[in-house]
C-alpha cells in the first residue's frame, strides 16, 4: 500500500530515544528509513524491558517500539571506509537525521556543505541538547535536563517537595516529536524548490517553546513579572488536581465556566445555594474550596474512579478522569473499540502488543510493514543489492569492523 511518505528516504544516524522517535514518525507513514547503527548497536538495544526480563539486544521493548517499520544497517563512521560507504548512500536520500555533538559531522568530512555539494536538495536535521551554536553547544543533556532547563519542571510537583520530571522518557520523545515536524517542513523546501537545508533543533528549546504551560508562563512573566511555582497553573477557588476516590485517584480541573456542571454532579442543595447567592464572588473566594471539598470528598469516596468519570464527565460534562494504570489502559473498552493497541510479531521478541497508529487518515495512513530490524539485518539488501558490493567486499568490510 502506498503511504504519504512512501517516496521519501531517510538516513537515520541518531540513536537512543529522541532521534529514533522522529525517525519512527517518518517510518510509520511510509518513508524508507534506513537506521544506521554502529556495529555495537543503538544503546536503546541495551535498555529494557526485555521478554521475561532477560537482557537481549534484539528484544529491547524500547528499541522495538521506536524502530518498527525501519530497515537496519550497521556502519562504523569512525572508520574512513565507513564514511566512504555512507557517502554512497547520500545521493538516494532526502533527509539525514543526526545527533552527534556539534561539529562531529564536519570533522568526519560529512558536514552539511559537503553533503549538499553531492545532493543539493538534501535536508540534514541535527538534534542536540543545546543546539549547534551558542555557549552551551558542547554541553550534554537528556530527558531530565531538557525538562529542568527548558521546560516547566520548576512548576511541576508539590511546593513542599522537589520539582519533578515527566515520566519515562517522554521529554526525550517529545524533543524527537518536535524535531520530526521541523525536518519534514525543511524537506518540502528541498523536494519542491531543490534547496537543501541544515535544520538546527536544540532539545532544550523544544521545551522552552512548549505549549505545556511554558510558553504561556513566559509571556505571563513578561506581562506581570511573576514567576511560576509548584502550584496549580490554573490557580482557583475550585477543585483542581489529583483527588483520592474509592479505588484509586482521579484528576479534576474545574474552570469557572464548569462550576455549574460540578454542582449538577454533586447535586447538593446547600452547595448549590452557596454559589447562587454570590455567583461571581463564589468563583474566586478562597473560602469556596473548603465548602466544595466538604461535599466532594464523601462523593469521591463513594464512587470508583470509573464511576466518577462516568457520572461527572460523561453525564454532566465536568471533567473528573480516572488515573488509569498501564494495565487499565490496555484493557479499557474505549481503546479496545478504537483499536489503539496492535500486535507485531518479531523474530526474537515474538508476538507483542504495541501502541498502534498515532493518527488516522482517510487514505495512505499508518501501516506496520515490518518489525524493528535486527542488528545489520538489511546490510546485504542495501550494500549488496543496491550499492552493488560483492559478498566478498562485504565480508572484508565486516572483517575491518566497518559494518
Amino acid at each position: 500500500m502506498s503511504q504519504v511518505l512512501s517516496n521519501v528516504r531517510v538516513l537515520e544516524l541518531t540513536d537512543s530515544i529522541a532521534g529514533p522517535f522522529a525517525g519512527k514518525l517518518f517510518a510509520d507513514f511510509g518513508a524508507d528509513v534506513l537506521k544506521i547503527e554502529s556495529p555495537q548497536g543503538d544503546p536503546a538495544r541495551r535498555y529494557g524491558p526485555f521478554p521475561h526480563d532477560i537482557p537481549n539486544p534484539e528484544a529491547s521493548g524500547l528499541f522495538l517500539h521506536l524502530n518498527r517499520n525501519k530497515r537496519g544497517l550497521t556502519l562504523n563512521l569512525q572508520h574512513e571506509s565507513g564514511r566512504e560507504l555512507f557517502l554512497q548512500l547520500v545521493p538516494s536520500a532526502d533527509i539525514i537525521l543526526e545527533s552527534f555533538p556539534p561539529g562531529q559531522m564536519e570533522r568526519w568530512g560529512l558536514g552539511f556543505e559537503t553533503l549538499r555539494a553531492m545532493k543539493p536538495s538534501i535536508v540534514v536535521g541535527s538534534l542536540t541538547p543545546f543546539g549547534q551554536y551558542g555557549p552551551y553547544a558542547p554541553f550534554r543533556g537528556n530527558d531530565i535536563v531538557y525538562y529542568a532547563t527548558g521546560g516547566p519542571m520548576n512548576a511541576t510537583g508539590a511546593a513542599d517537595l522537589t520539582p519533578i520530571k515527566k515520566t519515562l522518557n517522554m521529554v526525550e520523545a517529545q524533543a524527537g516529536n518536535a524535531f520530526a515536524g521541523q525536518v519534514l517542513a525543511a524537506f518540502l523546501v528541498g523536494r519542491y524548490q531543490g534547496e537543501g537545508q541544515h535544520v538546527d533543533v536544540a532539545a532544550v528549546e523544544t521545551q522552552l517553546g512548549s505549549i505545556d504551560r511554558r510558553m504561556t508562563l513566559e509571556l505571563a512573566y513578561q506581562f506581570t513579572g511573576e514567576r511560576s511555582g509548584r502550584s496549580s497553573p490554573l490557580g482557583a477557588a475550585l477543585p483542581m488536581g489529583v483527588y483520592p476516590c474509592a479505588d484509586g485517584y482521579v484528576q479534576i480541573v474545574t474552570t469557572p465556566a464548569w462550576a455549574p456542571r460540578m454542582l449538577a454532579t454533586l447535586n447538593d442543595a446547600e452547595l448549590t445555594h452557596y454559589f447562587q447567592e454570590n455567583p461571581e464572588g463564589a468563583l474566586i473566594d478562597p473560602q469556596t474550596i473548603s465548602r466544595v471539598e466538604e461535599v466532594l470528598y464523601p462523593w469521591l469516596m463513594s464512587h470508583t474512579k470509573l464511576e466518577c468519570f462516568e457520572e461527572a464527565d460523561l453525564k454532566h460534562g465536568w471533567p473528573v478522569f480516572p488515573l488509569s494504570t498501564v494495565e487499565d489502559v490496555m484493557h479499557d473498552p474505549h481503546f479496545q473499540a478504537l483499536g489503539t493497541f496492535i500486535q507485531i510479531d518479531h523474530p526474537v521478541a515474538g508476538l507483542q502488543t504495541y501502541v498502534g497508529a498515532p493518527w488516522r487518515q482517510s487514505r495512505k495512513g499508518f501501516e506496520v510493514r515490518r518489525p524493528a530490524p535486527l542488528l545489520g539485518q538489511h546490510n546485504a539488501e542495501i550494500y549488496g543489492n543496491e550499492l552493488g558490493f560483492s559478498s566478498e567486499a562485504l565480508a572484508s568490510l565486516r572483517a575491518l569492523d566497518v559494518i
Partner: protein, 430 residues
Amino acid sequence: MAHLPLEGIRVIDMTVVWAGPLATKMMGELGAEVIRVESKDHFPSSTRGFVAYLSKEMAASMGGIGGAYPNHDPGPDAFNRSAVFNVHAINKRSCTMELDQPEGQEAFERLVRISDVLVENNAVRVGEKLGLTWEHLQAINPRLILVRMPPLGMHGPYAHAVGFGAHFEALSGVTYIRGYDNADPSKTTETFHMDDCSAHGVLFAVLAALHDREETGEGMFIEFPQAENMMQQMGEAFLDYSMNGRVAQPHGNKHPYYVQGCYPCKGEDAWIVLTLEDDAQWQAFVAFAGTPQWAQDPRFATAYLRRQHQESLDPLIASVTQQHDKVALFYALQEAGIAAGPVYDEADAYADPHFAERGFFKPMTHPETGTHLYPSHLSQWSGLSMRWESPAPLLGEHNTYVYKQLLGYSDQGYDQLLERNLIGTAYPNS
C-alpha cells in the same frame, strides 16, 4: 532564493485552548497564511483567556495563567490581552463568523473553497453541529486537508468526554506513573504534555498530506486522536506489560539504570538536576566534590550498585550541590562531562546567555499590550528565516480583509453583515 515551505498555503484555524493553536502557530512561522475563524457570539473558554471579560480583582485572585494580563490588568477587552492567547497567535489573522447562522455558513464555505488546510480541536459534537465534517467539506473543496483533533477519537464509548490535556493524560496512564516515587499521587500537579504532543503531530501530519497533495492533487481527512498520539511516547511501558505483565509504577525523578535526581542548590527553591550515567561521570563528580573516599565505597562501585544504593547516595550528592549556585554548578558539572541542568523559572530563561545568543526570545509589539519578548521558533535553518511578522490579532481584526479582499464581499454586503450583528470585534455582555 528559496521561500518558506508553506508560503501560498492558507490555513483556516478553528482551534481552541493550546493543542490546536500551537500547531497552526508553527504553520504560520513556516509561511502559511493562518486565518483564525472565531465566533464573537460564543466565547471559547481557555482560548482568549478563561473568561471574556473580568474585573481587575478577579484577575488578581485567579493569579497564574488565569490572571496573565499586562500588570494584572485585563482592561476593557481582556480577550485581546491574555497571555494564554497572545503567545501562540503570533503571525495569525482573525475574522469572526457565526457558523450557526446561514450567513456565517455562506462565508465559511467561500473561505473553505480558497483554503488548503483546516484545523479544529473542538468537541466532536461541536464540530458536527458546525458542519466541520469531511463529507461536507470535501464536497466543497476536494483539495482541502481537514484535521480534527478529538482527544479520544471520533468514535468509541468515551468519544464525547470533555476535558483538558491533563485529564486525557490521566486516562492514558501518564499521570499515575508521573508522580513521586515516595509520595501520594495527589502531590502530583497537572501537566499538559498531550497538548504539546498534539501540536507537533498535527504539524507533521499536515506537512505529509501537503506533500502527498503535490503529487496526487487530492486532499484528505486526518482524524487526530490526541491521547493515542501521546501514547506513542509510552511505548516501552506498554511493551513491559505485554512482555512481563508488569504495571509501571511512579518513579519520580529516578532512572531505572543509573543515578539521576533533582538536588537543592544555594538559595530559595533553587535546584539542579544531574545524571551519573557511567563510572567516568561518577569519578568526575567525586573529583569535583573533593571526596575521594566515596569512590572507595563498595556500595558505589558500579553504576548498578550506585543505583541500588541511591537512597544512601542522594544525601551525599545533595551535601555537595547545596554549597553552590545552580548556574555556577551547571557550568562546573558540564565542564566535568556530567549531564546537568539548572531548574529554570521564566526569569532564569530570559536571563540566560545561551538562549540570548541563539535569539530564542524575540520582541513583538502588540497594539494593546506593548512590546515584550516572546518564545519563538523551535528550529533554525541554514538557508531561510522563519516568519516573525505580526502580533496576536484582536478579535475580528481582519474582518475587512477576509470578507472583502479574500471572499469578495461588496462594501454594501459587508456593511449589512455589520449592521445585522453577524460580524464584530467583541463578545456579548461587555
